[in-house]
């Protein structure tokens, strides 16, 4: 469980997205999507969870423990993180990228090797073909899968995803997103996904938190959000998937 309590972050004079007095709880085993236009503060909120960004005020608790009491480096090693456009280390092979955090934690080599094979199976990449490839030799979808493998290598309970599917083509995107949801389920993770795509949020998440200009507008299940948007801003956000669904239904009905 992640509890974000009255958290604020301001960036004086820069265009970066701030957050003011935000309170949000992500329940144990929940898949929560944080959605909003750019500049709404969603990535800043995500980054405050593993202290890549330090809040100015407020408290964040993970499994009941204040993150400020933890060493930030240790904290990050215990939380899986998938970056925008993967963020793989270009000088390391697929296996080395996946093994980064276990190595930092000082796992035995044999255990690391076994774990890499496990993860390659989990992310559905053929170990023989891909283990020793460098990231530049992978497709966008494969890179995202490796990034997911790297995030999960040290067996975290929490997974943070920062617009991980943004750069993928629609077919790959759907496949990877589906796998992420399956892995979330099978491993019993608590997952926080940042996205600006309402359709994606509606399809993947247990609950959706809508942000605008650094504050929460509405936090609800996809069904509640669609049936009872809190205001015109949320209504506008769900208008796109609605219109697409209608058009699609029409096409399919013919």
């Amino acid at each position: 469980m992640i509890e974000i309590l009255h958290v604020s972050k301001a960036y004086a004079g820069s265009g970066r997205e701030g957050v003011s007095d935000l309170t949000l709880t992500i329940r144990q085993g929940e898949f929560l999507a944080l959605i909003g236009p750019s500049g709404s503060g969603k990535t800043t909120t995500l980054n405050m969870v593993n202290r890549l960004v330090e809040p100015d005020a407020g408290t964040i608790r993970i499994e009941g423990r204040d993150t400020r009491e933890a060493d930030p480096v240790q904290l990050r090693r215990g939380i899986g993180y998938v970056f925008q456009e993967a963020g793989l280390f270009p000088h390391m092979t697929v296996a080395e990228n996946i093994a980064v955090t276990p190595r930092l934690l000082g796992w035995a080599e044999a255990r690391i090797e076994a774990r890499v094979d496990e993860l390659l199976a989990l992310i559905r990449l053929d170990a023989k073909a891909y283990r020793d490839r460098l990231p530049q030799g992978l497709s966008g979808g494969q890179r995202q899968r490796v990034a997911l493998g790297r995030a999960l290598a040290a067996k975290p309970h929490i997974l943070l995803l920062d617009e991980p599917f943004g750069a993928l083509d629609p077919v790959t995107r759907e496949a990877v997103a589906g796998d992420v949801r399956d892995i979330h389920q099978s491993l019993g993770l608590t997952t926080l996904l940042v996205t600006h795509d309402m359709t994606e949020a509606l399809l993947l998440a247990d609950r959706i938190a809508v942000m605008r200009e650094g504050t929460l507008v509405q936090t609800d299940t996809p069904h509640e959000l669609v049936s009872r948007p809190a205001d015109s801003f949320v209504a506008k956000l769900i208008e796109t998937p609605r219109r697409r669904a209608r058009a699609l239904a029409k096409t399919l009905a013919l």
């Binding site: 593993n50 480096v73 990050r76 970056f83 963020g87 280390f89 270009p90 930092l104 934690l105």
Partner: protein
């Protein structure tokens, strides 16, 4: 085979070995200093910009000047260390060259590293932090490996520069492939000059190639190729150390020579004499003119030949002209009290500054003496690199009113060509130079006696100033070499036809001194 080539070939193990050791040491030191500095500079704006600026400024100092500056600096430091801690170090040769070359190696390494580190994708740095790396882990596991190709490119640039500039360490007493070039320029031995250039360029290419292979091996993660490149470097360094280690001499005595033929011949003679008396003798040739006396005082060398007028002006900073005898006496006591250096005596000839013109031109313009030159204000005077900044020139210029004459400076050997071709109307020359007569030049008279005497005198450093065996073995040279004989000897080395090496000429002179008939040589 060309005898010059054979001689050059025989010197190669020594010159190349010392060149490699100096270049590689400077590169290793330069990289070792630059990498931590580069890391700090990339992380702090306050340090980065001024540091890169400073290193760039150092790079603009000409190599020869930077190398030369380190000699007096180290002399002062050595003196300070002796006063404070009772230990001193050698300020000539390896150490100043190493420090100057290290500074040269730094710029490309530092600049490439800083550029590479600053240019890293911020998303990658964020990812390194996000997976739980400490700043140090991020540096070693991510930032430096990603900056490595550019860093290596910087090291390769530095390698080519340093190997080239190492040739300039010859005048501060460090043997290198530059010895071929400096000696070759002096004796117009173009085989030597070319040999030195080709050897230095070849060495630079080989080192660059090995580093390139190492870089590709790192990129391709091929341990075998990396090991191969490492092996190549190791073999090169071992081969260079080989001759040095094999003949690591007890220091023995060191004979110094400035950078012209007469000095080489005289140094070879002194070395022969001392060698026959059982001393282990080495030579340090091509010393800068003012470096030589300081090197003698600091016991970096033990004996060399200097000239009274040079010492009077450069070392004592005197401009008065007390007369030949009195000047030598004053110099003798001043050198002894100041440096513990013994002025053993004159060799018998003078190597004075004179001004010479082509005979036909002098005749046409009715010029016989320096006084006549003032009547032709449009004449061009050629000089070597030091004449116009020397007190002798100021005295001459004031005495004869020629201070506004147009001047050109030449490498000493090109002076004669300049006057023969008409590039210069008159040139400075040295009275013992055999080429004055050979080219049929007219020496202009000095009726006002503005130029001081330049008697060649033998100077002995403090460690051997009172060594009877040492002094006895050099005594046969005192007063033994008249001007005509020295001119002839200089010409044997300088002329284009039937050129002799300084060593052959020294042997010829010694035969002469021993009263035997000198071997017949064609003119």
């Amino acid at each position: 085979m060309n005898p010059s080539f054979q001689e050059a070939w025989a010197l190669l193990p020594d010159y190349l070995g010392q060149h490699v050791i100096l270049s590689v040491s400077a590169l290793i030191l330069g990289v070792a200093v630059s990498v931590p500095l580069g890391i700090v500079a990339a992380r702090s704006k306050g340090i980065g910009a001024p540091l890169l600026g400073l290193v760039s400024v150092i790079q603009t100092i000409p190599g020869l000047a930077l190398l030369a500056l380190f000699y007096p600096l180290l002399l002062a430091l050595s003196a300070l260390a002796r006063n404070l801690f009772g230990v001193s170090f050698r300020a000539l040769g390896f150490l100043p060259a190493l420090l100057a070359l290290t500074l040269y190696a730094m710029l490309p390494v530092l600049r490439n590293l800083v550029t590479a580190l600053k240019g890293l994708d911020p998303a990658i740095l964020m990812a390194a932090k996000g997976v739980g790396m400490t700043p140090r882990q991020s540096l070693y596991k991510v930032e430096l490996p990603l900056a490595a190709p550019q860093l290596l490119a910087g090291i390769r640039t530095a390698t080519v520069w340093v190997v080239g500039i190492t040739t300039l360490s010859t005048p501060i007493g460090q043997t290198s492939l530059g010895n071929y070039i400096f000696t070759g320029l002096q004796t117009e031995n173009w085989v030597f000059v070319l040999f030195g250039c080709v050897a230095a360029a070849g060495l630079a290419l080989v080192l660059d190639f090995l580093l390139a292979v190492a870089g590709q091996a790192l990129q391709a993660r091929s341990r075998r190729r990396l090991a191969l490149a490492g092996l190549g470097l190791a073999v090169l360094i071992a081969a260079s150390l080989g001759p040095g280690l094999a003949q690591t001499p007890a220091r023995g005595v060191v004979i110094g020579a400035k950078n012209f033929d007469e000095q080489y011949i005289l140094a070879d003679m002194m070395a022969d004499q001392l060698g026959r008396a059982g001393f282990a003798v080495r030579q340090k040739i091509d010393l800068g003119s003012t470096v030589a006396l300081r090197a003698l005082a600091a016991s970096d060398i033990d004996a060399y030949v200097d000239y009274t007028g040079t010492l009077w002006g450069d070392a004592m900073h005197r401009t008065d002209m007390p007369g030949r005898q009195s000047m030598r006496e004053q110099l003798t006591s001043w050198l002894a009290s100041h440096y513990g250096v013994a002025l053993m005596g004159p060799l018998g000839f003078e190597n004075a500054y004179v001004f010479a013109m082509r005979a036909d031109r002098a005749k046409a313009l009715h010029i016989r003496s320096l006084a006549d030159v003032a009547l032709h204000p449009d004449l061009v005077i050629g000089g070597d690199f030091e004449i116009f900044s020397r007190p002798e020139w100021r005295t001459v210029a004031a005495a004869y009113g020629v201070s506004t004459m147009r001047r050109r400076q030449y490498q000493p050997d090109f002076l004669f060509r300049a006057v023969m071709s008409g590039d210069a109307d008159l040139v400075s020359a040295f009275s013992s130079d055999g080429r004055i007569a050979r080219y049929g030049l007219t020496i202009l008279a000095d009726p006002k006696e503005a130029l001081p005497p330049y008697d060649a005198v033998l100077l002995i450093g403090p460690s051997h100033a009172h060594d009877p065996r040492f002094l006895a073995s050099l005594r046969p040279l005192i007063g033994a070499i008249p001007l005509a004989l020295m001119q002839q000897a200089n010409l044997m080395v300088d002329r284009d036809q039937d050129k002799r090496t300084p060593a052959e000429t020294a042997a010829w002179l010694e035969e002469h001194l021993r009263g035997q008939q000198p071997p017949r040589l064609p003119d």
